[in-house]
């Protein structure tokens, strides 16, 4: 029975972890290239969730179709916010970009609230379930997991097999050196910020495919917190490191529940959170570059 629970939770954790990873890749990409900590990260996830909700309810379209739409909206938002605010603050003290992204997050939340209201919303996309014996997995969650893996792979290929990807990697390594070699560093910044936001907004779609309820303007806060832990886990400036960080986080979060439940008199959920942050501290202390990145 115990092993059955553990196996079930690990499978659920793996699926959730893939989505957590995808939801963190944008944060890592932006930090890696621009050294900007996007505190408004969760608000962009929320935008993706609302795009899905709107497309599903108004147009009756399958949430999978929302992924490219959300990515495109995210790209647009990224370019707008980069041009209006971030570009001008890149040389300013770090606190300025921190405050700017915080303000962008609040702006988005209040704007969405103005349009959709503060109600907690949801949609009901029934596409069946798979009974794995140890747990039941809704097909929508499986699609979300597969979608995350495909997007992570595409990002990996873009990074490693295209000229634009090489330019981004060169800026991550040394922006001055890249400039000397003729790389348009300003363009790379704009592109990276836009792709980072695009990925984050698209991850909002996948989040709702995993949990299609609780969609509201302030839903992003919890995801921002988790994204920071995952980003540190995978290496703050490594987007695919963040993806694997997400997988580890999801597995640890869900799997540890079963084990903590064996301890009498404790609330396992409280301990899973405790463990997540202990993990964060340990990684910061012994391997600050993240578990997947060389020292």
């Amino acid at each position: 029975m115990l092993l059955e629970h553990l196996a079930g939770n690990l499978i659920q954790g793996l699926v959730l972890g893939a989505i957590y990873g995808m939801a963190t890749m944008g944060l890592s990409l932006i930090f890696g290239v621009l050294k900007v900590v996007n505190v408004g990260h969760g608000a962009f996830i929320m935008v993706g969730a609302f795009i899905t909700l709107w497309i599903f309810n108004a147009l009756g379209l399958n949430p999978i179709f929302s992924i490219p739409i959300a990515f495109a909206v995210g790209l647009g938002l990224g370019l707008i916010f980069y041009s209006l605010a971030i570009r001008k603050l890149l040389k300013a003290p770090e606190l300025s970009t921190l405050l700017a992204t915080f303000a962008i997050g609040i702006l988005l939340e209040e704007l969405v609230k103005l349009i959709f209201g503060s109600e907690f919303r949801g949609y009901n996309w029934v596409v069946g379930k798979i009974n794995l014996g140890v747990t039941v997995l809704p097909v929508a969650k499986l699609y979300a997991c597969i979608g995350s893996i495909i997007i992570a792979l595409l990002l990996y290929l873009w990074f490693n097999r295209t000229r634009a990807g090489s330019a981004v990697r060169s800026v991550v390594e040394d922006d001055e050196g890249a400039r000397v070699c003729g790389v348009n560093v300003g363009g790379v910044y704009a592109l990276s910020f836009a792709i980072g936001i695009g990925l984050t907004v698209a991850s909002g779609v996948l989040v709702t495919m995993f949990i299609p309820v609780g969609i509201n303007p302030y839903m992003g806060g919890g995801y921002t917190l988790k994204a920071f832990v995952i980003a540190v886990l995978g290496g703050l400036s490594s987007p695919y490191g963040a993806f694997f960080g997400g997988l580890i986080f999801g597995i640890v979060e869900n799997g540890s529940y079963t084990l903590f439940a064996l301890i009498p008199g404790v609330e396992p959920f409280a301990l899973t959170r405790f463990l997540s942050f202990v993990m964060l501290l340990v990684i910061l202390l012994i391997r600050p570059t993240g578990i997947l990145k060389a020292k």
Binding site: Q12, K113, E119, F120, K129, P212, V213, Y257, P268, A270
Partner: protein, 425 residues
């Protein structure tokens, strides 16, 4: 010359009359101050509370004819600010309402946490602090002297549900409790556990989950193994939706599911559609309750306020939306009525005197009964249990308040996925 003198004299008289009358006007207002949750996580409940207060203020001013105190007629003015559902805003806004706006009474914001946060500020100003959205009994165990509750206490939320299942299915003995790790929800769980044990139920699962949880799968998988007959749980709106949705995802079927705070709101069904069929929730008030002037007379209680339909009409006018109010609106509105009755009884606007009058006050309104104990805890109000049936909320408990029969056991999630609705036999 004489004409000029007359003109000056008349002008002076007009100015004096204006100043005098405006000072009279200013003095004839009772100001209710409220750090309302109009944005942030409690915005939905906050909007309802705002509408409820405005509806009853409208009724007092325009139907009841204001409040007569010491032979003088007072109209009620409602002064509110958005506290953004944040604790730090609540304390500063209460301070502002008392010291700058000079309000006569402060209405607490929504939720137990925010209510508790504001209580010491009101207390330090010896200001009456009326609680319409903080159900946690612990608020009333802190020794505060100026706080008075209208919402029913958390410890009683699931008593009706347990009584109902005990009566209709004596064979159902296995109950699982899974609540949010918040002061309010834990108090509900404490009360449910005590009542369940009193009625002879076996608690086969008891766990909490953290606030802001985004995945309940580990907890729900764990209680699947406990094979409960029914589940009581929840905390606030977002986790209630998640609870129901993930039970459906994991195919966990029980005879009854009752979730606090979430299941009674229209948005719950809107988000979950058929997955919410048959799900229940305790409510402080529901459209369809049968409180009336004649019922108050039978109970030997004074009646005040609009009828149920009157309240609904005033609420719609107040918020400018064609929606039926929920219990957040009703309890906030009933609080206005309690204050007015107590102020009249005290024949004063002094917080100490009104607090004393509230202690002796018993009445009935569209919201139901109202009575408090020495600590200010609400003891006169009974809750109802509602169930989603064919997309509508139906009052299924207590028997004397039923608007429909309980669907028990509720349809399984597989049946609901195929479109089966909770239809009473």
């Amino acid at each position: 010359m004489k004409g000029r003198f007359s003109l000056i004299a008349i002008s002076l008289v007009v100015i004096l009359v204006f100043i005098f009358s405006s000072s009279l006007w200013a003095a004839s207002k009772i100001v209710i101050g409220h750090p309302a949750c109009l944005s942030g996580k409690y915005a939905k409940a906050g909007e309802q509370a705002l509408g409820g207060v405005k509806a009853c203020v409208d009724w007092i001013n325009n139907v009841y004819g204001g409040v007569k105190i010491g032979g003088k007629k007072y109209l009620i003015k409602y002064k509110y600010y958005d506290c953004e559902s944040k604790k730090e805003s609540v304390t500063s806004l209460i301070g502002r309402l008392i010291t700058v706006d000079k309000v006569n009474v402060v209405f607490a914001p929504y939720s137990s946490g925010l209510t508790l946060r504001g209580a010491p500020v009101a207390e330090s100003h010896r200001m009456l602090y009326m609680d319409h959205g903080g159900a946690n009994n612990k608020i009333f165990r802190q020794g505060f002297r100026y706080i008075v509750q209208t919402i029913g206490p958390a410890s009683r939320y699931h008593e009706g549900t347990l009584d109902m299942i005990h009566k209709i299915d004596p064979a159902a003995k296995r109950v699982a409790l899974a609540y949010e790790d918040s002061e309010f929800a834990k108090m509900v769980m404490e009360g449910a556990e005590a009542h369940a044990k009193k009625l002879g139920f076996n608690i086969v699962f008891k766990r909490t989950y953290p606030k802001g949880v985004t995945d309940l799968t580990p907890l729900l998988s764990a209680f699947k193994g406990a094979k409960p007959d029914f589940i009581l749980g929840g905390g606030h709106f977002e986790d209630g939706q998640l609870f129901n949705r993930q039970m459906a995802d994991l195919d966990i079927n029980v005879k009854a599911l009752s979730l606090i705070a979430a299941a009674t709101l229209p948005a719950f069904y809107k988000a979950l559609t058929s997955m919410a069929e048959g799900v229940m929730g305790p409510s402080h008030w529901e459209y369809g309750v049968k409180y009336s002037e004649s019922r108050a007379k039978k109970a030997g209680l004074p009646w005040i306020g609009p009828t149920q339909d009157g309240f609904v009409a005033l609420f719609k006018k107040a918020i400018g939306k064609n929606i039926i109010p929920d219990y957040h609106a009703a309890e906030a509105g009933a609080q206005v009525l309690a204050y007015v009755l107590a102020a009249k009884k005290a024949n004063s606007l002094n917080s100490d005197k009104i607090r004393a009058a509230l202690g002796d006050l018993k009445f009935m309104s569209f919201y139901g009964g109202w009575d408090i104990d020495d600590t200010g805890l609400q003891i006169g109000h009974s809750m109802v249990d509602v169930q989603w049936q064919m997309g509508k909320r139906v009052i299924v408990w207590p028997p004397e308040g039923q608007t429909g029969k309980l669907v028990y056991p509720m349809p399984t999630f597989a049946e609901k996925a195929k479109g089966k609705l909770a239809v009473p036999r």
